[in-house]
Structures are given as structure tokens and as C-alpha cells.
């Protein structure tokens, strides 16, 4: 396997994860509804996701993408560290954006966040003790509201979304380029759409814990 095919795996898994984020984001916007309406609708949505065999299959692709993206990032970084030179005086940073050079650091923050996020909600939903709402669905909404009463958790989520935003801004343009989009006109459009997409998704996700924290803490 050569350098280009490794990058293609990074791009393919990364762009799939970007697409997943959109679906996840759209589903979660239900949290912004009126509390009682939000509870029923969000819980029904969660129940639908866990029961559907097609969603189950996609979720396995999702887990594989996260793990694959991380493993290939490690392989690529190890090779790059060995291949790149280090200088006594290094001013090379002037030529590129800081976040494009620190995708590994940003990615690690996001990965730690994902583990925490799974533990907060995914694990609790699958294996924890959860009450039922009036429709008989597991009351994940209550778990979400309870979790975001903790200020430190809200802060961690917001920081993680900032890291994710920069990771996505570079990741989307880089990934599309790796897949071979070279026409200047389309590259420019992808860059613009990529930045808008990253900012909208990350600001939106960061708003969810903040919204719940401020509307429920009285």
C-alpha cells in the first residue's frame, strides 16, 4: 500500500464521517423543541434508530470508519515524522495554517470526545437503567438533560466542537483534493461549502448543551 492509497482511505472514511455528522445534527435539532414535545419526539427518534436493521448496518460502517480513520492517521503520522526534516531554526509555519499542520492533535481531542460521548449517551442507552416516557420509549431525553446540568461537561463539549470545526475545515478540502478534484473553480466552491458546513455543524452541536444548560438550570 502506497502513500496515495493510505490517504484515499483517510479521505473516504473522513468524508463518510462528515456525512454522518449532518444526519446526527439534523436528528438532534429536536432537542431545541419545547421540552415536553422534544422529549417524546427525541425518544421516538432514538427508538427508531436502534430498531432499524438498515441503521444498524450503517452504524457498523460508522464504527469501522472511526477506527480506520484513527489507525491510518497513526500509520501516516509515523511515516511522516520519519520522512520530514527538523531544523535548528524553523520558520516554516508562516506558509500554512496552524490547523492544517495539527490535524493529529485536533483529531486526538475529537477521539477522546467521542469516547466520552459514547460513555455519556450510547452506553447508557444500550446498557444503563433508563426510565420510559409516556409513549413507552426509553427516555434518553432525560439522560441528555441530566448530563448537561454539569457545567464542566458543557465546557468539554464546546471545546471539542471547536477542535472538530478546525479539523473539518481542513479535512473536507484536503479529503476532496485527495480524491482527485483538481479544477480550480470547483475546488474553490468546495472550500467555501466546506467552511460553511464545518461552522454550521459545529456551532449547532455546541449550541445543544448550552441551550439545555441555560434553559433547565433555574
Amino acid at each position: 500500500m502506497n502513500t496515495l492509497s493510505r490517504k484515499i482511505i483517510m479521505a473516504a472514511t473522513g468524508l463518510f464521517l462528515c456525512f454522518f455528522l449532518l444526519i446526527h445534527f439534523l436528528g438532534n435539532t429536536q432537542l431545541f423543541l419545547e421540552p415536553e414535545h422534544a422529549r417524546l419526539s427525541f425518544n421516538a427518534y432514538s427508538h427508531f434508530l436502534t430498531g432499524n436493521p438498515l441503521v444498524k448496518m450503517v452504524s457498523y460502517v460508522l464504527y469501522a470508519s472511526i477506527i480506520g480513520h484513527a489507525i491510518y492517521a497513526l500509520l501516516i503520522t509515523a511515516k511522516n515524522k520519519a520522512a520530514g526534516g527538523s531544523y535548528k531554526k524553523d520558520n516554516r509555519g508562516r506558509a500554512s495554517k496552524w490547523y492544517s499542520r495539527n490535524m493529529g492533535v485536533l483529531g486526538t481531542i475529537v477521539l477522546i470526545f467521542i469516547v466520552l460521548h459514547f460513555q455519556n449517551f450510547w452506553y447508557v442507552y444500550k446498557f444503563g437503567e433508563i426510565g420510559l416516557d409516556t409513549n413507552g420509549n426509553k427516555d434518553l431525553y432525560a439522560v441528555v438533560v441530566a448530563a448537561f446540568q454539569e457545567l464542566w461537561l458543557v465546557v468539554v463539549y464546546v471545546i471539542a466542537m471547536i477542535a472538530l470545526c478546525y479539523h473539518l475545515i481542513h479535512g473536507i478540502t484536503s479529503g476532496v483534493r485527495t480524491l482527485g478534484l483538481f479544477h480550480p473553480k470547483y475546488v474553490r466552491w468546495v472550500n467555501i461549502v466546506g467552511v460553511v458546513y464545518s461552522v454550521v455543524i459545529c456551532v449547532g452541536f455546541a449550541a445543544m448543551p448550552l441551550f439545555i444548560y441555560f434553559t433547565n438550570s433555574k
Binding site: N2, R6, K7, K79, G85, K89, R92, A95, G180
Partner: protein
């Protein structure tokens, strides 16, 4: 003007190198950077010391032979400039200048500021050629090439092969060089014949030479003396994906 120099001295590929301090008086501001090094070497020779070795050839900014890292930037502080076209007026009187060779796993140091860039030659010879019939010169208009295509090919062909992209890349990747050499041929009709094998072979050779992955930081384009566009790299990716797909389909 007076300059304090810190220059990387290394006896050969295997030995350990170190920075050595030199002070140079009476530097003329109209000197090029290489002429300043020549002046230093003349002083060293008179003192019976080993002169500092560095690569250079045309000193007109078109051959791609020269290139050192000056104060942490390949070819120094100016944009779109080779080391030989950098003049001492860009520096301040009494300034300390740190001079190092290009560093990357694919560019082993030969001596002092001289690095072995023959990896680039091997990448070219693995696929950067075109097959033509021998015999009489063909009629000039047999294969029409539009102005836009010719200009685009020239833009890629402007690459000097100096290696500043590799020295600038934190991953020591030769993607910009290889991409420019693939693209300049890929878009011309005369070189469609080897299109697939060229992309595959040159990329395999690039990896064998120990260069890293491209992570699209775009630093190479900024520091390139010719400002070769990073979109060449996207074009190379396209050529590689296309060739891999067609190879797969054939099987």
C-alpha cells in the same frame, strides 16, 4: 555590512553535523546570497580551512541547483525566489543568519549544505518521458494543442526541481514535485500513451525514495520559487485514481 553566520557543517553523510559560527565583515548589500558565501569561502581558504560546500549552477534563478534553508525558510525570507536571487539587502547590518541544508529522509546530506537530490532524477526516469517515433521531424500541426492546454502544461513544467517543497513540507513529501512532473505531461496529447503507467510508476518510485504523505497544508506552493500550484497534487491524485481504476477493470 557585518554579518554573523551560523552555518551547518557536516563532513559526510554518516558523520554528525553541527552549527559553526562565522563573522563576515564588509559584506556588500548588492551581493547575492551565494556571493556572500563565496566571500566567506575565500576567507576560509586563505585561513587554510575547509570551505563551506553548497550547490549552485546558473545563479540566474532558472536551473534549480541552489537551495538552502535560511533562518528557517527554504530559499530564505523572500517569496518566489531561489537562493541565488536573494540579495544581501534583504538582511540587516549585524544580523545573525542561520544557514542549514534542505532536510528530509529523501534528501540525505552529502556535505555541509549539499544534499543528494538524485531521488528526483529516479522519479523522473521511472515514468516522466514520452514515446516518439524516430525519423524525420513530424509536421508541426499534426497534433493541435490549444493555447490554454499549452499554457497549463507550461505552468506545471516551470518546476525547477530544486526541492524546496520537500524541505518546507513537515512530512518531507515530494508530492508537489512529482505532481508537477506528472501533470505537465498528462495534459498534453503527445503523452497520453503512457498516461496510466506514468502515474503509477512515478508514485511508486516517490514512495520508494522515502518521502512522506501529502497532508495538503499547501506550504509547498507558498515557498516554491515558481509558485507551482498545489492543484497539481490534486491532479496527480486524479491521475493515480484513474490509473488504478482502469488497471482494476482490466483484470
Amino acid at each position: 555590512m557585518k554579518l554573523h553566520l551560523k552555518i551547518w557543517r557536516q563532513k559526510d553523510r554518516k558523520s554528525e553535523g553541527k552549527l559553526v559560527d562565522y563573522t563576515l565583515e564588509n559584506v556588500n548589500t548588492h551581493m547575492s546570497f551565494l556571493e556572500m558565501l563565496d566571500t566567506l569561502n575565500e576567507e576560509l581558504i586563505l585561513k587554510d580551512e575547509q570551505p563551506v560546500e553548497f550547490d549552485h549552477d546558473c545563479r540566474e534563478g532558472i536551473c534549480g541547483q541552489c537551495g538552502v534553508v535560511i533562518n528557517g525558510n527554504a530559499h530564505g525570507p523572500l517569496k518566489n525566489t531561489t537562493t541565488c536571487q536573494l540579495h544581501m539587502r534583504e538582511f540587516k547590518d549585524g544580523e545573525t543568519i542561520l544557514i542549514e541544508p534542505f532536510r528530509a529522509a529523501g534528501f540525505p546530506i552529502k556535505k555541509d549544505l549539499k544534499v543528494d537530490r538524485s531521488a528526483f532524477d529516479r522519479i523522473i526516469s521511472s515514468g516522466g518521458y514520452v514515446s516518439v517515433n524516430t525519423g524525420q521531424a513530424p509536421e508541426a500541426n499534426t497534433i493541435p494543442v490549444s493555447h490554454e492546454v499549452a499554457e497549463a502544461a507550461f505552468d506545471s513544467a516551470a518546476c525547477l526541481g530544486c526541492g524546496a517543497c520537500v524541505a518546507t513540507c513537515k512530512n518531507g513529501s515530494a508530492a508537489l514535485f512529482t505532481a508537477a512532473k506528472i501533470t505537465q505531461l498528462a495534459i498534453l496529447p503527445q503523452s497520453k500513451e503512457e498516461r496510466k503507467q506514468r502515474a503509477l510508476r512515478m508514485i511508486v518510485q516517490m514512495d520508494e525514495e522515502g518521502f512522506g504523505h501529502c497532508s495538503n497544508t499547501e506550504a509547498c506552493e507558498v515557498e516554491c520559487p515558481q509558485g507551482i500550484s498545489v492543484l497539481n497534487i490534486a491532479r496527480m491524485n486524479y491521475e493515480y485514481n484513474r490509473a488504478s481504476f482502469l488497471k482494476f477493470k482490466k483484470k
